[in-house]
Amino acid sequence: MVYFLLFIPLALVLVAFQSTVLNQITIAGGHFDILIIFLVFLTLYGSYELALISLLVMAPIVDAISGLPIGVSIIPMLSIVLLAHWGGKTIFGTRLGWPILVIFLGVLIAGLITIFELYILGWDLPWDELILRRLIPSAFLNGFAALLIYLPIVLIGERQEYHLE
């Protein structure tokens, strides 16, 4: 419960940053998604439970801010956390390639689930256009952003190990 309360202001700040700044930046049709990157980071380098708590806080806020039915983003974000958790626990660990891959796949999967949910709820969306012109560019863009974010982390980690030796 304490974690839950702590994540509320953090989630508000991240969502505000996403909606006011990052959503205004469009590169090749894609947007940066700091929420997905944060969730993957938290799952791989923090804890699975913390990631679940944070997604439960962030998802309703994202939905409320973006005008979607509240709760729609919970399952897409959950899929990202599960993917990162599963890969991290099994074969990929926290190697550099996995965060990048999980963010790339996570953006695609979360987007597809969101479109599917909205379709079920009766929203008439140009899904093919959304996938081709929004989801795929966003997946590549966030994968690249993940590389820029995780590379220093990996390098710093290696340097610390070197000093310890």
């Binding site: 505000a16 909606s19 309703p60 709760g71």
Partner: protein
């Protein structure tokens, strides 16, 4: 143990919870939650919007700096171009004014050039001679110039043609020590001879002591001797030298022509002198004009 038992339930609980939340929202029961979220997110949203605006304007400024540098270079080039053009136009304007003045002189003295004999000539160089300052003009024998022809500007007498080359000529200025011009005062009609001096203003000599002349009087050519037409303005009396012990009185004359700034002159071609000026030496070649 309790934690291990809860873990498998998390996933279905979240999914079910999401579906329930969506259902509640679709039923319109989460309106207050929506309001709370919007109210809570307002401060960070305002903060990030302001930060974005500041950062955006910073980037815009950086971008503008590059554009301004380019613009500045273009404007500097334009300024240089306009400066050169302005200088050229100023030069043209000066030349135009001089030509107009010379034209005015030609129009007010039509008897000098009835058949279009007026020649406008430009000095093209100075001699290295320190004592005299012959001026060479770019008109010579091929242009109809002959030795002894009077040279004037709109402001008055300059001198006469001393040496003639095929395409250029030397002018013997009235300030040259070799120059003698018969002159008279405009008001008192006193006759005299204007003689050039080295490093000093020319002096009017052989003035009858009986005639009273005063400073400021205009001096003009008298026409005596036939070397110059009568009535060409020469200068102004700046000092009268009168001595009872001398047979004649003298007067220092300030020429009306500014020889240092003179650029264009007129040669009166329809006034042939009676005889060539003996004082003016004849050069052997055009490239080496004679020295005194």
């Amino acid at each position: 143990m309790q934690r291990i038992r809860l873990r498998p339930l998390i996933l279905p609980l979240v999914i079910v919870g999401a579906i329930v939340i969506i259902g509640l929202d679709m039923a319109g029961l989460l309106g207050p939650v929506n309001d709370v979220i919007h109210t809570a997110i307002k401060p960070p949203a305002i903060f990030f919007s302001e930060a974005k605006r500041v950062v955006g304007s910073g980037f815009a400024t950086l971008r503008e700096i590059g554009e301004l540098k380019q613009r500045n270079l273009e404007l500097e080039a334009r300024v240089n171009q306009l400066t050169v053009e302005n200088l050229r136009l100023a030069e043209v304007e000066t030349e135009n004014a001089q030509l107009r003045a010379l034209l005015n002189f030609a129009q007010t003295n039509p008897f000098f050039d009835i058949r279009g004999g007026q020649i406008i000539a430009r000095p093209i160089g100075d001699s290295a001679n320190l004592l005299t300052h012959p001026i060479q003009i770019d008109l010579g024998e091929t242009h109809g110039i002959r030795q002894g022809m009077p040279v004037v500007t709109d402001r008055g007498l300059v001198g006469r043609i001393a040496n003639v080359y095929p395409r250029s000529s030397d002018i013997l200025l009235i300030t040259d020590p070799r120059s003698n011009v018969t002159v008279m005062t405009q008001t008192s009609r006193a006759q005299g001879v204007l003689r050039g001096r080295v490093g000093q203003l020319p002096i009017m000599e052989l003035i009858s002591p009986e005639i009273e002349i005063s400073e400021g009087e205009i001096i003009m050519t008298s026409g005596l001797g036939g070397h110059f037409p009568k009535g060409l303005v020469v200068g102004q009396v700046v000092e009268v030298i009168h001595n009872d012990n001398l047979m004649f009185q003298s007067a220092v004359i300030q020429p009306t022509v500014d020889f240092d700034r003179m650029e264009l002159v007129l040669v009166i071609t329809n006034f042939p002198p009676e005889e060539p000026e003996p004082a003016a030496p004849t050069p052997e070649t055009e490239a080496t004009p004679s020295a005194p």
